[in-house]
Structures are given as C-alpha cells and as structure tokens.
C-alpha cells in the first residue's frame, strides 16, 4: 500500500472525530461523512476534479450513524470507493447500514456503557473519593472503550467493505449490549444501596424520604422517558418556589 493511501486513510480516520460537526436536519451527518471522506476522495480522484465533485455530491446526501460506530461505514466506503464500486451500490449500502449503526451504538453506548461507567464513578464519589479521582476514573474507563471502538470500527469497515456485515455479526454487539445492560442494573442497584445507607443521616426524615423516592423510582420505571422532562422541570421549579416562599 502506498504512503499516499495510508496517509489518506489515517486522515480520514482522524476526521471521524468531527463527523457530527455539521449535524443538521436536512442531511443529518451527511455533510460530516463527506467531510470525513475528503482525504481519501482527494487521493483517489487526484487530477480528476469533476469525479471528485461528483463523489462529494453523492456523499453529502442524508446519512446518520452513532459517532463511535460511524467508522464502520466510513471505512467500508473508503474500501468501496478505492475499489471503484458502483456509486448506486455504495448509496444503497449507506442507506442500509445507517440505521443499524445508529441503533447498535445507541443501545451499546448511550443506553448501556455510558450510564454504566457513570454509575461506577458516581458510586465512588458518593463513598467519598476526591473530585479528581471521580472524574479521572470516569474519563479513563469510558474513553478506553470509546477509543477502542472507534479504531475497531474503522478497521473492520476498511477490511470488510460491503461485506462488513459478517465481521459485525461475529462481533455480536447485541450480545455485548445485553451484558452491558445487565452490568448497568447491578451498578444501579449498588448506587441506590449506597445512597439509601447515606440517607440514614436524615434521622426522622429518613423513612418519608425513602418512601417518596421509592414512589418516584416506580413512577419513572412505569412511565419511562416521558416522565423525565416534567420531573426535571417540576423539581427545579419546586426549588425556586421554596426560595421565593422563604423570601415571603
């Protein structure tokens, strides 16, 4: 592989960190994907400006993916473009994989891994660790997973091209998500236990507080995310109302 190709691939990978830079409702991260692919496209269509412009026009079309897994699509498109694959097939590939890269990443990272590591850090903080230890623990643990996933994604995309589906199936991300959600449940239980024990310092107020919190927990579990915004706004307003009442 020539130095030019290696360098273009490396710069393309680094640009995946900026793939959401122009997130918009028209093309989602389509502009970001085209921006990310530019080093490779410039290397491929050197001296062919019309071809280059045409490729950019194709890639600014609507696209979306979880940012950490977007490297799978980016790597695969790099491979397909380098091999001179049919542009229509590349477009259909992007359409077909974008939803999966969204739901796999949202489930594994946003719903599983991120809250899991945050729960661990919160628990360490609740047990009295210094502030810098708490955030250091979170940032290091989280970003080991994050950066590994970015590199792995780009490499399997690059190796697999449009057959990346086989590599993804072998990796069994839904299985990993299931384990992460299970670990999250364990960590959540542990954090709740730590907070409840801490609540004993309230003395007589402990049981009413526990009761109200248990009802809140059950309500959140029953209603789901629709309960989030009303609760957040109501609690914030309750705090403000209390302080205004205190003034009066």
């Amino acid at each position: 592989m020539s130095l030019l190709v290696t360098s273009a691939r490396l710069r393309t990978f680094l640009r995946t960190f900026l793939i959401q830079g122009s997130w918009n409702y028209r093309s989602l991260i389509g502009g970001g994907l085209a921006y990310t692919l530019l080093p490779m496209l410039r290397a491929k269509f050197r001296g062919e400006p019309e071809q280059l412009h045409s490729a950019v026009r194709r890639h600014v079309q609507a696209f979306n993916a979880h940012p950490y897994l977007s490297g799978i699509a980016t790597g695969a498109v790099v491979r397909l473009e380098e091999e001179g694959a049919d542009p229509e097939m590349i477009g259909r590939f992007k359409d077909a994989i974008r939803g999966s890269l969204g739901s796999l990443g949202d489930g594994l990272i946003w719903a599983g891994f991120r809250p899991l590591v945050l729960l661990l850090a919160l628990m360490v903080g609740w047990l009295g660790a210094p502030p810098y230890v708490v955030i250091g623990l979170f940032l290091i643990l989280y970003n080991i997973g994050h950066l590994w996933l970015r590199v792995w994604s780009f490499l399997i995309g690059l190796q697999g091209g449009h057959r990346v589906v086989e590599r993804l199936r072998e990796a069994d991300l839904p299985g990993l998500t299931r384990k992460t959600l299970a670990a999250g449940s364990l960590a959540l239980g542990a954090l709740v236990g730590v907070v409840v024990m801490d609540g004993r310092s309230l003395g007589a107020g402990f049981w009413p507080w526990l009761l109200v919190s248990a009802v809140g927990f059950a309500l959140g579990h029953r209603v789901g995310y629709a309960a989030w915004r009303p609760t957040a706004v109501l609690t914030a307003l309750a705090v403000l109302a209390l302080s205004i009442l205190g003034l009066a």
Binding site: S22, L38, F138, L188, G189
Partner: protein, 216 residues
C-alpha cells in the same frame, strides 16, 4: 474563561470528539475547580448527573445540553458562597438551563443546514464543504460560549437574593433533589431492561451497595 469552557464542552457533546467531558459529573468538577471549589462542583455535577443519566440522544430529538448548563450551575454555586441555598438554586438553574441549551442545539442544527446548503450547495466543492463544516463547528462553539455567559449573568443576578431566604439545610436540600432524581433512576432502570428482567442483578447490586456502604 468560564464561558470558553462552556463553549468547549458544548462542542464535546456532539460536534467534536464526544469524549464526554461535557457530562455533568465532569463539567461540574472542572467548573467548580476553576471557580475555586472542586468539591462543590462535584456535588452540583453529580446531582445533575443523576437527572441526566437516563437520557439517550437517539437520532436528533431534543435533548438537554448538559455541558454549558453544568458550568453555569457549578460556577454560580461557588461564586455565590456554596451555601445550601446557593447550591440548590444554582442547581435548579442548571437543570432548566440544560433545557434551554437543548433548544439552542436545535436552532444550531437548523443553522448548520443553512450553512451547508448555502456554502457547500449542490456544487460538490470540497473546499466549500470544508469551510461549511468548520463554520458549523465554530458557530456551535460560539453558541456554547454565549449560552454559558447568559446563564452566568442570570445566575449571579438571581441566585444571591433567593439563596439568602432558602429554608432548608444541606441534608434536606439533598433530600428534595434526590427525591426527584429517583424518577430518572427508575427510567434508567427501565432502559436497562427493568423489572422483572433485571430483577436479580438489581437486587444483588442493592444488597452489595447497602452492605458495602455500611462496612465502609
């Protein structure tokens, strides 16, 4: 300086990197230590984190912008004396400000569409695309700076007066905030699979947490 931090954290959430320095837990400690009190930053950041834990930013719906809002909350809490009242009111401002932030993110995304459409257009010019992408990132940074600056201004204007009349001590302030956070934790549990699917692990964790905290 503090507003620049808000701008950087605004970028982290979506546009650049997503290293999660924009999480309330991290943003609270960084902003608190810049203001001279990392412990208060941790208190404000971790309680805001309990609320924001349940959010899954899937696809482009409206989600709270936590970085600048936490910078506002932690900084204002420290600047106004870190009393229970200052912490509570700065905290609630942070929670509301994250909603306002989410609304500005949506405006930013509309603006990005216009920038891409206007600058990159249908021409497919690589240079124009790079300019448009950079402009979108720069304007998002400016949004974060402005959002933080306005939040700080509101905070330092409003919080001292209200904090002086706050009727609860720190323990009862925490009670109020944690009771609301329990709803968010219930939502999170549901997202993990909930009851009864994740019953055994949740109960095991609960027992471990109770025993561990008792022994420590």
């Amino acid at each position: 300086m503090v507003s620049v931090l808000g701008g950087v954290l605004a970028l982290d959430a979506t546009a650049v990197g997503q290293f999660m320095v924009s999480r309330p837990l991290v943003a609270g400690v960084i902003a608190g230590s810049l203001a001279g009190d990392a412990a208060t930053g941790l208190l404000v950041g971790s309680t805001l984190e309990l609320y924001h834990l349940a959010g899954v930013p899937a696809g482009g719906g409206r989600f709270p912008d936590t970085g600048p809002a936490t910078v506002v909350a932690a900084t204002v809490a420290v600047w106004t004396g870190a009393t229970p009242g200052a912490i509570a009111i700065a905290w609630s401002l942070g929670l509301l400000w994250s909603q306002v932030g989410g609304w500005t993110v949506n405006l930013q995304r509309r603006l990005n569409g216009l920038i891409l459409g206007r600058v990159a257009g249908e021409a497919g010019s690589p240079a124009a695309l790079e300019v448009a992408h950079a402009l979108a990132i720069l304007s998002d940074f400016a949004r974060g700076v402005l959002l933080t600056a306005v939040g700080l201004l509101i905070g330092i204007t409003v919080v001292p007066g209200l904090a002086s009349s706050w009727p609860l001590d720190l323990a009862w302030t925490a009670v109020l905030i944690l009771a609301g956070a329990s709803v968010s934790l219930g939502i999170l549990y549901k997202g993990f699979g909930g009851w009864p699917e994740q019953r055994a692990l949740f109960v095991a964790g609960l027992v471990a947490g109770l025993v561990g905290a008792y022994l420590l």
